[in-house]
Amino acid sequence: MLKDNVFPVKDIPNVVHPNETLVATHCCYCGMQCGMNLRVNTKSNRIVGVEPRYDWPVTLGKMCPKGVTAYQTVNHPERLTTPLIRDDASKKGTPDGFREATWEEALDRIVSRFKELQANYGKDSLSVFSGVSMTNEKCYLTGKFARVGLQTRYIDYNGRFCMSSAAAGFMRSFGVDRGSTVPWTDIPETDCLFVAGSNAAECHPTSMFRIWAVQERGGYLIVADPRETPIARRADVHLDLRPGTDLALANGILHQLIERGFADESFVAAHTNGFEETKAIVSAFTPEYTSEITGVAPDKIVRAAELYGKAPNAIVMFARGIEQQHKGADNVSAYTNLALVTGKIGRPKSGVATFTGQGNGQGGREHGQKADQLPGYRKLTEPKHVQAICDVWGIAPEEMPKPGVSAYEMFGLMTDKTIRGLYLVCSNPAVSAPNQNFVRAALRELDFMVCSDFFLSESAEYADVVLPATSWSEDEGTVTNLEGRIIKINKAQEPVGESKPDWAIQIAIAERMGRGRYFSHLTDPKAIYDELRLASKGGYADYYGATWEKIERQQGVFWPCKSEEDEGTPRMFLDRKFFHADGKANICALPYRPAAEEPDAEYPLRLTTGRVVYHYLSGNQTRRVPFLRDMCPEPFVEVHPALAAQYGIAHEDRVRLYTRRGEAVFAVKITEAIRQDTVFVPYHFGKEQSINLLTNDALDPMSRMPEFKACAAQMVKIG
């Protein structure tokens, strides 16, 4: 088992209140997957509260405000408890016009409409849009449900808005995509942390005690972010760049590392390809040139490179700030270059890590929910990979649907009527997708839409049938946290009302579609997981040896875990073997491209988006929790005092923001924590408060990730 020298697990007894039991599990929100105990009343068998789980080695009982209040969603009065059917399509896009229905009627309606659409317009007229706040079991099954149950090529998931740039960048650099090459317990022991594009304090707060510990030990913290976030505020160097210029900054740092002799030549020669080409590309990125593009002072760039270069051990960490761009995959590889060129990878306390935004952002991207991908990170374009999965699924390779399109592109196909039916599960694209006016119109265009969720989300308002799904604590299964550690979540109470787990719903639909023989053996999450283990065997993300029993015994198992004897892989590449065919990693030569939309006379400001600590993703859950809603009831726009003076606006004034795609009104929050040329709005809010009405849908050519983090905007004072 992993040892943590800085924060050893203390033996603190659990507090059990009278007439209660504790169920050990994990938080339902971000990729930290903090350990927690749910308090269950033994008379009512209901979850009534939360107790810290001091024995969980990753988080030691710590929780953010979302975690502390997560249990309040389970028995929330707004939970969906029965299926809902909308008979009058004219009310689409509103919460009105639904009536309660039985499961029989709802499933019959779904299957008859699905069959009708497929009979008239072909199998591919249906689509599945899923998410990664679900267990591995559900993510795996959703991929199989689309391809074998509905026999459509069109499946993709909200990880395209969240994790796909990290995945694509890591695949290109390492030949494998595991979000962190080291366990989180290594963080406090490293000597230099380089955090790029991550508001870690608000998005992954329970990482912070380890991050602060680096400084408390005398190590250095470098933060690249347009905003002076709580983590940037205390950094040794804060690289306050213009949104969308991260690639130039990473190239500039790499240039300095090479110039100043911090490259590890023997590592580079023995274990990497592409150094010379990359060196040539970055040679132009002198501190002055890099500063011109990024707006960061040259001496800060030099200092950051010096600290990272000199550090005996260092970890490069990043998140959506660099990934949610139309060059997100390049940004990821550019930051990964720093570790590869200096040889600070493939050993303890050094490596690369991405903060996973969604609860199962890691596991959910490995099991075949992506348009172009099969379980175990296999590729749909590789006949051998297809054959391997066909063997597990019991279908012929000819029956395997071809690759589809990415999440945002599906809305285009809805608009032109290529896609006519949608099965939406565990996602809220009517808030979270970019260019909302287009996306909402696309949803309206559908002939038939099903939404499975546990609250009536903004997206569910476009559905013809809404199915009540269970919440995370009414079912069991596994998730894979941001370290790549497969962990177990446990059932704490029976499902509310008539809600059912998504796996059971999908199997029921598949059976009615006449595809029952491929699903009927999957009677519980364990059976699904065991099939997932088989399907991932021999793939990049190999879960075969990570049985539920081993996960319990070892407090999680890091993949790859290839056999019963294998304890798993907390640290990647310790043998200096990368996953490309020649065993080497790629140092990537990446020419700089500016943001897809640069400010101009009409739209002079840069708009960037992100999170607040009180809300999760589209806010569908957290906006319903009283404590969290009270703390942040509304979105706001952060404006620097100098910019505010220029526009004549004051704190709490209201302004209208415009971009080429839309407009919305926000209350002003004056703060020096933002650049003068940039405004920031959090994205957790729906309807007319959604900043995604304004964001840019320019896609990364490699990861198909939209450019949420930078676009050109105009601000006008109102009232």
Binding site: V15, F209, W212
Partner: protein
């Protein structure tokens, strides 16, 4: 009188990120009726959003208890200054005025003061209070007296005034606060 607690609540102000987990957690403590008894203050909200938790410091000679005409505020043997006893409290609000840190609050409906009791149901058994259990940044820590001594040694600043104690705050306190600037004395690794 030396209190019997094995551990102390220790606050490292610099670490706070303003997440307010401590507030949320306080509502989860047994007997707190889902009402938090601690607060988080925005130090300079229009500048950099530095925040600091405002916790009851469990004064050794508490002004709240001193000001109470009927001794409704008891000091537990661990040093925790308890919430007003229901059967004694008159609802006069003297304590809410007396406390220099604004900790005791007044429940208008019940005509009763309520304040942080250092999660006495937990801390009497040396289990960390809820706020310190969850605080994700180690701003709030529940540490042994040995750990406290080690911290004091490590973080001694030139002026040696590293903890909030007499004469800088109300008086001597059971809760220890590290004044901002904790990293000033840290020697860099390289």
């Amino acid at each position: 009188m030396e209190n019997t607690a094995k551990s102390v609540l220790y606050i490292e102000l610099d670490n706070c990120i303003g997440c307010r987990s401590c507030l949320a957690a306080c509502t989860q403590c047994g007997g707190h009726e889902e009402r938090n008894r601690n607060y988080v203050y925005d130090v300079n909200p229009l500048v950099n959003r530095q925040t600091m938790p405002i916790m009851c410091l469990h004064c050794v000679n508490p002004a709240c208890a001193r000001s109470c005409p009927v001794q409704a505020i008891q000091v537990h043997e661990t040093g925790a200054v308890l919430s007003a006893m229901v059967e004694k409290c008159l609802g006069c609000q003297n304590c809410t005025i007396a406390c220099p840190y604004g900790i005791p609050k007044f429940d208008e409906e019940q005509k009763l003061m309520y304040k942080c009791d250092l999660c006495i149901d937990r801390t009497k058994d040396d289990i960390p209070p809820m706020c310190a259990s969850v605080c994700p940044t180690n701003t709030l820590q529940w540490i042994s007296k040995e750990e406290l001594a080690a911290k004091k040694k490590k973080h001694t600043l030139d002026n040696e005034n590293w903890v909030a104690s007499a004469p800088y705050l109300e008086n001597e306190t059971n809760v220890r606060i590290n004044l901002p600037g904790i990293l000033q004395g840290t020697a860099k690794l390289f």
